[in-house]
Amino acid sequence: SQTIHQWPATLVQPVGSPLSLECTVEGTSNPNLYWYRQAAGRGLQLLFYSVGIGQISSEVPQNLSASRPQDRQFILSSKKLLLSDSGFYLCAWRGGGKESNYGYTFGSGTRLTVV
């Protein structure tokens, strides 16, 4: 069966420090991968998505970047965190291909607090 792992679960970082959040998927190949951010008490905002290794699409201009060094690994990064980067970050995957209508599966999330 397919599983998705995200870590760490919580993170407190000072303003100006770097960030690296990792997401990995098991039990599938060539998944579409996504990073979402959720501010407290609000909806989910799509940040990045990837349809393959090295392929990253950004949805919103921001202080963050994403990379996909391996088929089932998706990394969210920042060189210098801002206070506004605080939030709940969620990784998600779905089966690839236009004909596929698999539902998205979400990781357990990382709660980032920038202080």
Binding site: N32, Y34, G43, Q45, L46, G103, F106, G109
Partner: protein
């Protein structure tokens, strides 16, 4: 970017009553819709989905209704239980730029009173 930044409305229901959560979507080209349940501090969990060529789909204690004319989606929960308390999001799937994108609608917080 496409996102929802609205403060979440709250629906309060008595345990045992039926709940109806509503959602409006924006893109008439979307062909697939999903309802998610999100408990505090956790990722969203799939509840039920519906294709755009359908107007109703039923699951266990849940029913999703789709009205494409007014671009409206609803989730009905029968005999609401305390464990149903959570935030509920509707989402639409769009095929753009050679990829599916899951775009979330406005969430609703469901509180179940004992």
């Amino acid at each position: 970017g496409e996102s929802v930044g609205l403060h979440l409305p709250t629906l309060s229901v008595q345990e045992g009553d039926n709940s109806i959560i509503n959602c409006a979507y924006s893109n008439s080209a979307s062909d697939y819709f999903i309802w998610y349940k999100q408990e505090s501090g956790k990722g969203p969990q799939f509840i039920i989905d519906i294709r755009s060529n359908m107007d109703k789909r039923q699951g266990q204690r849940v029913t999703v209704l789709l009205n494409k004319t007014v671009k409206h989606l609803s989730l009905q929960i029968a005999a609401t239980q305390p464990g149903d308390s959570a935030v509920y999001f509707c989402a639409e799937i769009r095929w753009t730029d050679s990829s599916y994108k899951l775009i979330f609608g406005s969430g609703t917080r469901l509180l179940v009173r004992p």
